[in-house]
């Protein structure tokens, strides 16, 4: 990404809305006989980048789906900026595990989908183009999604998620299917978008290194409850080779794997 693309996307959109606080209180979710979340409390302060890690099946994706309004809790409540989720759903955007682009719409039209209620507003094309430029794909605007690589599709999905300037971005392991290099590229893109737009990010991931690289705070979920909640006191940009980075990653991994290790 270059400076002009950044500037273009900044001037093309509406005035940057600051992040909104996300709060889930005592939420429960059961599927049949299995209780996935048992009265879990979760809070992401406005503008923060919170990563949620855990083994598969621990309930982290369920938590994200509840926060994003894709699913309703059996008990408890979710609020965004203090308002119930139902009234604030247009302020939150989801980036899914899969790109979920409409195969029959051009890359640009797919980004326009992200405008939500403003999809018919004048200047939508310019805003979508600016968002595409900010992920470095302005030259592919007219192409079909089928002609893009996996990483490029996920970049289009990121542009779609950000084009409406959401106050909250929920990310459900969006980089899990990408190769290692593309993944690091996407992490940098995501971080710069977050630094630029100031939205609240909630990232579910199974990759502890990814969580340490991106998040201000890491929440570890075990058997439907929060088992660990640690801050990441590392300056940005972060370097994976740094000793502190490795120590933190090691400690969280040890906790995840159930090894006896000192807590950070």
């Amino acid at each position: 990404m270059n400076a002009t693309a950044l500037a273009a996307s900044r001037s093309g959109g509406s005035p940057s809305a600051a992040g909104a606080e996300v709060e889930a209180r005592a939420i429960r979710r059961t599927f049949g006989d299995t209780t996935v979340l048992r009265g879990l409390d979760f809070r992401a302060p406005a503008g923060a980048f919170v990563a949620v890690v855990g083994r598969s099946g621990c309930g982290k994706s369920t938590l994200l789906r509840l926060i994003a309004g894709l699913d309703a809790p059996d008990g408890g409540s979710v609020t965004i900026a203090g308002r119930p989720l139902a009234d604030a759903s247009d302020q939150a955007r989801v980036m899914f595990q899969e790109p979920r682009l409409l195969p029959w719409a051009s890359v640009l039209a797919n980004v326009e989908v992200g405008l939500g209620a403003e999809r018919d507003a004048p200047g939508r094309r310019e805003r979508a183009l600016a968002a595409l430029a900010s992920v470095g794909l302005a030259d592919r605007a007219a192409d079909w999604p089928a002609t893009l690589s996996g990483g490029q599709r996920q970049r289009v999905a990121l542009a779609r998620a950000l084009v409406s300037r959401p106050r909250v971005l929920a990310l459900d392991e969006p980089l899990g299917a990408l190769d290692a290099l593309t993944r690091i590229e996407m992490q940098r893109l995501l971080e710069s978008a977050w630094l630029r737009d100031g939205f609240t990010a909630v990232l579910v991931t199974h990759d502890v290194a990814e969580a340490v690289a991106l998040a201000d705070r890491i929440v570890l979920i075990e058997r439907g409850a929060i088992a660990l909640d640690v801050g990441v006191p590392l300056a940005r940009p972060r370097h994976r080779g740094a000793a502190e980075f490795g120590r933190l990653e090691e400690a969280i991994l040890a906790r995840l794997l159930g090894d006896p290790a000192p807590e950070p």
Binding site: L70, S89, R93, V94, R100, L102, R119, W144
Partner: protein, 276 residues
């Protein structure tokens, strides 16, 4: 340009295209080799006296019959009548099939009310209704319209329903979470997602359409290509009978080509229809 640079290009062209398991591509002209050869053999057989004219007239006499009927205007008017019947039946049956397919694919209530009834009716061969249809409509246009519509309805209905149901639920979830209203959800996600399957239904429907029309016209009609063939049989004019059969084949091919063009136009994003 030297051979050295041309060779890799040639090799690229000779490579099997993706999606076609059998290497070389046949361009349109190659497809006509087999039919042309068959006609040549047929003509040779007739000219040499191997095939009796009363059993199978020679291609030359079929062409002569075509010329004769074209001059008298009979051919054009009969083809026109058959074509209009086919299209009217396709429009009526196809439209009803689309409506029920979408309604039952989108609404549980609608599906509960009508699907099992429709599935029961589907198992009755619609041509079995001919005696009843003659009692109801006589041999009027209504009879043909009814039969063709009924025949066309089911393939369109079944494939539309299947298409709507098989739209990727992840895309629907995405669209809903991005605040897409219901009308836009239908127009931008469900309809284009169901379209490839609807085209499959249309292709089946075209086959059923011609079949039904031929049967209906030979049994109960006073005009059309099928009627022309039955009249000719009365007078042992086998050349006209064969001509009628060939016309049905050509009309069928024409419908197929039209569908392909329509698919290419409506599904430009689909890897199977994307033009290189």
């Amino acid at each position: 340009m030297t051979d050295a640079t041309a060779a890799p290009l040639e090799r690229l062209r000779a490579r099997p295209s993706p999606g076609r398991p059998f290497g070389w591509r046949l361009s349109g002209a190659y497809g006509w080799i087999a039919p042309a050869l068959l006609v040549a053999l047929w003509q040779a057989g007739s000219s040499l006296g191997f095939i009796a004219d009363t059993v199978l007239p020679s291609p030359a006499s079929v062409v002569a019959a075509a010329w004769r009927l074209t001059r008298s205007g009979e051919l054009a008017s009969n083809i026109g009548v058959s074509f209009l019947r086919a299209m009217a039946g396709l429009a009526v049956g196809g439209a009803i099939g689309l409506v029920f397919g979408f309604a039952n694919g989108l609404s549980k209530v609608s599906e509960g009310l009508s699907d099992s009834t429709l599935q029961m009716v589907r198992n009755i061969p619609h041509l079995a209704l001919i005696p009843l249809v003659i009692v109801w409509f006589g041999i009027d246009e209504g009879a043909k319209l009814f039969l063709v519509s009924l025949g066309v309805f089911f393939p369109v209905y079944v494939n539309t329903l299947h298409g709507v149901r098989s739209v990727d639920p992840q895309l629907i979830e995405m669209a809903k979470s991005y605040g897409m209203p219901r009308a836009a959800l239908f127009r931008r996600v469900i309809l284009p997602g169901a379209l490839p399957s609807i085209f499959v239904g249309l292709r089946y429907a075209l086959g059923v359409m011609w079949l039904t029309l031929i049967v209906a016209e030979t049994i109960a009609a006073q005009s059309g290509v099928g009627y022309m063939a039955m009249q000719a049989r009365e007078f042992m004019m086998t050349d006209v009978v064969v001509l009628s059969i060939l016309i049905y084949a050509l009309l069928g091919k024409l419908a197929d080509v039209a569908t392909r063009l329509l698919e290419g136009f409506c599904l430009p994003w689909h890897p199977a229809y994307r033009r290189a």
